[in-house]
Amino acid sequence: MNLEEYKGVYVFAQQVDNEISSIAFELLGKAKDLAKDLNTEVTAVLLGSGVKGLADQLAEYGADKVIVVDDPELKDYRTEPYAHGLASVINKYKPEIMLVGATAIGRDLGPRVSARVATGLTADCTVLEIGDFPLQAVPGQEQLHNQLLMTRPAFGGNTIATIACPYNRPQMATVRAGVMQKIEPVKGAKAVVEEFNPGFTPDNKYVEIMDIVKAVTETVDIMDAKILVSGGRGVGSPENFKILEDLAEVLGGTVSCSRAVVDSGWKPKDLQVGQTGKTVRPNVYFAIGISGAIQHVAGMEESDIIIAINKDADAPIFDVADYGVVGDLNKIVPKLTAALKAEIAAAK
């Protein structure tokens, strides 16, 4: 493998139902930073059926070039045709870096493709930067420059590791949704669009989609919320979430929850914050009746302001809260809602 041949930062531009997923824009934002450090370009790889029209959107979010693989076999996500499509793009265009979202699609596609093109893959990264490997020069070992350094949590957030892929290309990473920042879209931006079709011949690895069952949900995506009012087991009952909903409404926020609440069947999984739920970074995160297990903290600690209310003064949530209030949420939260309502009315 001649590593020098591999150039450019590539992003898998995930789309579902011909709508680009937010993670693709987030990856483009990060890819732009990396490409600047490497003095190279950002390429989005768009796979699907009838998706060429989406290329302009990718340009607006930072893609210099868009490679479109358009084929009826790619209509809905299936591992094999998508792996074939992406691996073929990698083999033909030879990217230096290939970023994929750590979504239910990306965490299936990424490993399959990395195994096919025989390179390493670092999962669920939270920080990506360009640097040296080894980090410090070691006698007797060549220090390589311009490497992708991929930082990720492990052990449920107990530890953090920085990984490099120094001798194989592309350097592949999956990145958690909600971690990287998208750029302000540049209206009217255009990218070089190139169409490529490696040919899709169904074989034993093509599975058949017999049915697609979409979850019926009216809720807002908690990852987009600026203010989250999050409840844990301490809220006591599904009915009592009403006091959190009232608080959220006054602030124009959204209610989310901990895993214990989902496991108890009080709230649906798409409202769950944490390691096995979603990573959120709102301006304000209220942790109400949440003890703060490390798996929960991993999903919310990047919030700008964390306010915790808990009756247990020793709850670990107070270790990450900017403002911790030890007390009874049933007394404090309704009064807080009323006080904020009065403040906001007075300010108008």
Binding site: R107, D108, A118, N158, D270, L340
Partner: protein
């Protein structure tokens, strides 16, 4: 039907985490359990065995101590256990782990391979799909329901906002979610039997069609540059006040920060 289940002995993350000087995990120094997603995968295999009849073989790669999870699996009802252990396999990343397990599985007959979605130590979710690629068979990740239909499997595959009902011809690899089921307990008779049975131990020499350059620390494309305990931003203020004062405190902070 023959089912191979890949399981992993993992550190119980409730205990402490310890590292070797090279940044890899000091697995010998930590308390261990059977990885939860793998246990769900094993349970799924045992239910297929109950329903359709099957021979269930569990395979693990690890230190000699990993024999413990094989015994546990056999006490739950697995028929055979294979431990893949060898000094040269140590320090493997997901690529080298998947080439190793694929090399072991090539010696076996199988209709179905089941792995857990991900292990609680690395959380990568990579090894299952990578094994399927090395073996050139289809993969269905994130399975929340598994049925057999003749020579095919029908699986509900979970996504964030939907699930797909997928049909794949066997042989096929499935990765299981811990939500898939509630794993059964070991039975006293099962525990007794499990300790009577032989565990097959394989080393490097038993791996089929695998090049040395794809094994162990040396054969791992990803390299650890740095590993450490996570540094958190640290606690802020903590107050204990009555309800009205608590409210004033929070409102004051929200005003200071221009939230309201």
């Amino acid at each position: 039907m023959k089912i191979v289940v890949c399981i992993k002995q993992v550190p119980d993350t409730k205990g402490g985490v310890k590292f070797n000087p090279d940044g890899t995990l000091d697995r010998g120094a930590m308390l261990t359990i059977m990885n939860p997603d793998d246990k769900a995968g094993l349970e799924a295999a045992l239910r297929l065995k109950d329903q359709y009849g099957a021979e269930v073989t569990v395979v693990t790669m690890g230190l000699p101590k990993a024999e413990e999870v094989l015994r546990e699996a056999m006490a739950m009802g697995a028929d055979k256990g294979i431990l893949v252990t060898d000094r040269v396999l140590g320090g493997a990343d997901t690529w080298a782990t998947s080439t190793t397990l694929a090399g072991a599985i090539r010696n076996l007959d199988y209709d179905l391979i089941i792995t857990g979605r991900q292990a609680i130590d690395g959380d990568t979710a990579q090894v299952g799909p990578q094994i399927s690629e090395h073996l050139n068979i289809p993969v269905i990740s994130y399975a929340q329901n598994i049925k057999i239909d003749g020579d095919s499997v029908i699986v509900e595959r979970q996504f964030e906002d939907r699930y797909h009902v997928l049909k794949a011809k066997m042989p096929c690899l499935i990765t299981a979610l811990s939500e898939l089921n509630e794993p059964r307990y070991m039975t006293p008779g099962g525990i007794f039997d499990a300790y009577q049975q032989e565990i097959t131990v394989w080393g490097r020499a038993n791996l089929k069609d695998v090049d040395d350059s794809n094994l162990g620390l040396q054969g791992s494309p990803t390299k650890i540059a740095k590993a450490s305990d996570k540094v958190r931003k640290g606690a802020g203020e903590k107050v204990t006040l009555d309800a009205d004062e608590s409210v004033s405190y929070i409102v004051g902070k929200l005003k200071d920060k221009h939230v309201i």
